[in-house]
Amino acid sequence: MLSTILSWITRAILFGVVIMFGAMGETLTEKSGNMNLGTPGIMCIGGAFGFGCTYLYEMNTDNPNAFLSIAIALVCSFVVSALAGVLFCLLTTTLRANQNVTGLAMTIFGSGLAKFFGMFIIPSGVVTVKAVFANKLFTKRIPVELGSGKVATVIEEVFFGHGFMLYVAIVIAVAMSVFLKRTRAGLNLRAVGENPATADAAGINVNKYKYLATSVGAGIAGLGGAYYILDYNYGGWSTGAAGGIQALGWLAVALVIFAIWRPLNLIWGSFLFGLCYWLYNYIGVFGVRMTSAQSALLEAIPYLVTILVLIISSIHKKRENQPPAALGLAYFREER
């Protein structure tokens, strides 16, 4: 019983880290007023390139270096995803294309690109390739021993039984919260997302902030994709992997709304989503037997919760809980 629940929590946390990265990237992007619905696609790109580069590295090196293996995965994933963010910003901010349409196209493009790129890695006749070395590094537990008691085991499993990326994600979320609340650049970024005309009049370079927030946001989202492959998916890449990332990507977008655009809420929100998502697999613990159709319904809980949050925050009308006022709107200086 206890071990089942612990395994449920572990699974939920792993799941949560994937969507936390995606949602953090999307939150940063949306704070600048850009609604990047291409995030699921960008996560696919991040996953494909992060996995691909580190896989090629470990396959072509006799004694792969642990630090290099991690660095290659993260840097490649971040840079290529950030470039996708720049592309999105170029289309929507500079060329003023509709953000929703561009974002959806980016998602289709991103998962297509990931599959295409992935094809070259997978040798013919093989379904899945595994980056064994990198997977080991990503899943390596933080070395904390708390003894053998029941309480100690629970604490150890829940708080320390995970790879380093969980802690990276939490640090990024906290840092992002501090950045948005306490720094001048954060204030400026929020002003851009709330009222670009005012920001412009105050001398803030609106386009610079949009580009930076969107590309860095896309990069962070891309890390979620890399994490999905190298940890959550046991280091395995298959042509179907992109579909899996994309599905979680949409949950990441939903999580941004659930967290009412606050990075700190993403931390617990993502784990809650993970628990809900994996509930179907562990519901047997509570003595409930379900058909596959019923458990498929259970998987929809995160989406239902998101809709509920959206409805409740709309009814409440508390201004702090609303999306950035200029979200989704193109800005150009009024000219007479």
């Binding site: 720094t183 001048r184 204030l187 400026n188 929020r190 002003a191 709330e194 009222n195 005309a197 005012t198 920001a199 009049a201 105050a202 001398g203 803030i204 201004r319 702090e320 006022a325 007479r336």
Partner: protein, 516 residues
């Protein structure tokens, strides 16, 4: 005493042109240190454009700007700030979600350390020095208009502005709030700052300013000491001599009441009374001009008649059917209901491509909009509207590649011809037009005047809301003057003078209400 004060800002021969419109022609203007200067002029006289050149929004086509005797080039709002010029626009530039102090920090110099507490302390100091009443931690969305304005001024002072330009600051304030603002402005003057107030309210000009500079149709008319000025002398400088336009004005034939409006009061979305107890009669076969500073209730008046604006209880709009004098109450009815009752209203709104026409549709489809509920087939009948579109195109000489070209692609004058043509084609008994010739060239303007006169002679009751007094005086039979939402008098356009209407527009006058 002004002679002893040094000249701070000087504009020499400044001109600015937008397309074919000369917004400012060779304007010369001096501002002294430690004075309050009023910039007075009608709508469209170029006051705001002139000040926007000081605040870096526009760059002058020709002419120079001197600050403390040195020629300067102001290319952006940032340049303006560097020279100590701060402008408070009519539309506030504030982030609603931020607190007052965050909004000020936003505009802060990047070299300054980011410390909200220090910003708040400095703001507090500014507030105490000049007597502002401001809670620095209040969120902007919780603020009243007056508080937002205060915040804007504090923001500008925080950045170290020496010269403040206020664009119609009292337009959105209650009299008490305005008095409070004036006290603060006087404190700023005492502190050696120069304040320029753009306004067209004469009593304010007289009560607060040291000198008044007057602009008329983009030209600089002159500057007078406030103590030597009277409302009449300022009005005469502001509206100028009457210009003969030679617009036809046939005598009304058998005018009879078409609409009797009684006690009409309207509130805007914020709950502010924008039209206050207005009563008048609209006659068939005549053109009733409506004059007033913009935003004095003209829009609400027309929209109330059209059934688009809700009317406070007690107001009444009675429509008299031409044939049998049967009366119909229009208040509380939707435009569709009004039309179904057989009331033939036509409305040429101010916002041509927003309320009047759909910009992305062609002439034909725009014609169809007015007859959307006719016929019973699920398929549209394009033949009739197409013929109508072709007829309007020929008769009014609309310049367009074809009746299916999106009307957005047409010039302003042609767009207006399409709209007026469509409204007239509906054979109305009441035709309302709002700023029908705004932005149009001379020829098109005269075409519109001709069309309106044709309607008048056909017995239509025409309501003409205008901003150019010369036109109003020549085309109207009677002129209703609105001032701050109240009816300030109805005058006979054939015998009145420009300064009489000008005074009525700017000066709410109790006696004037019994003028007729």
């Amino acid at each position: 005493m002004e002679q002893t004060k040094p000249v701070a800002i000087e504009l020499r021969n400044v001109s600015k042109t937008f397309g074919s419109i000369k917004a400012n022609k060779n304007v010369n203007l001096s501002v002294y240190r430690g004075e309050i200067l009023s910039l007075l002029g009608e709508n469209g006289s170029g006051k705001t454009t002139l000040m926007n050149m000081l605040s870096g929004i526009y760059y002058p086509d020709t002419g120079e700007i001197y600050i403390d005797g040195k020629a300067v080039s102001i290319r952006s709002p940032k340049d303006a700030f560097d020279h100590g010029i701060g402008m408070i626009h009519q539309h506030f530039k504030l982030v609603e979600l931020f607190s007052a102090v965050e909004n000020v920090a936003l505009a802060m110099d990047a070299k300054e350390k980011y410390n909200l507490k220090a910003v708040a302390a400095k703001m507090q100091e500014i507030c105490e020095r000049y007597g502002f009443d401001l809670d620095v931690n209040q969120k902007v969305y919780d603020m009243t208009v007056s508080q937002k304005q205060t915040l804007e001024i504090v923001k500008v002072l925080y950045r170290g502005a020496e010269f403040l330009i206020l664009d119609e600051p009292t337009a959105v304030l209650t009299p008490q709030e305005a008095e409070k603002l004036f006290q603060v402005i006087r404190n700023m003057r005492a502190d050696g700052k120069s304040v320029i107030i753009i306004t067209h309210k004469l009593h304010e000009v007289l009560s607060i300013s040291d000198r008044v500079a007057i602009l008329r149709k983009g030209e600089y008319i002159g500057t007078v000491e406030t103590k030597d000025a009277t409302e009449l002398s300022l009005t005469e400088m502001m509206v100028g001599q009457k210009v003969e336009l030679n617009i036809d004005r046939p005598m009304p034939v058998n005018p009879e009441p078409r609409m009797v409006i009684r006690g009409l009061t309207c509130k805007n979305a914020e709950g502010v009374t924008v039209l206050d107890n207005v009563s008048f009669t609209v006659n068939s076969g005549e053109i009733l001009g409506i004059a007033g500073i913009s935003g004095c209730g003209q829009k609400e008046l027309l929209e109330a008649i059209a059934g688009l604006q809700s009317v406070e209880p007690g107001g009444s709009i009675l429509y008299y059917t031409p044939e049998n004098k049967k009366t119909t109450e229009l208040v509380g009815k939707s435009p569709r209901k009004i039309r179904d009752l057989g009331v033939a209203l036509s409305f040429v709104p101010e916002d041509r491509l927003g309320m009047g026409l759909v910009g992305t549709m062609g002439m034909t489809e725009n014609m169809m909009l007015r007859y959307y509920n006719e016929g019973s087939s699920i398929f549209t009948d394009k033949k009739k509207p197409r013929n109508l579109a072709l007829r309007i195109k020929d008769e009014l000489e609309v310049v367009t590649p074809g009746v299916d070209t999106p009307v957005r692609a047409l010039s302003g004058g042609n767009v207006q011809k399409v709209l007026v043509g469509r409204e007239i084609a509906a054979s109305p008994t009441v035709l309302m037009t709002a700023y029908a010739v705004r932005g149009l060239d001379i020829n098109t303007s005269y075409t519109i005047y001709r069309l309106l006169n044709e309607q008048k002679q056909a017995g239509v009751a025409v309501i003409y809301v205008g901003e150019d007094l010369d036109v109003l005086l020549e085309i109207s039979d009677r002129i209703l003057v609105l001032c701050a939402g109240k009816m300030n008098g109805i005058v006979d356009a054939r015998t009145t003078t420009k300064s009489e209407v000008g005074l009525l527009m700017t000066n709410l006058n109790k006696e004037a209400q019994q003028h007729e």
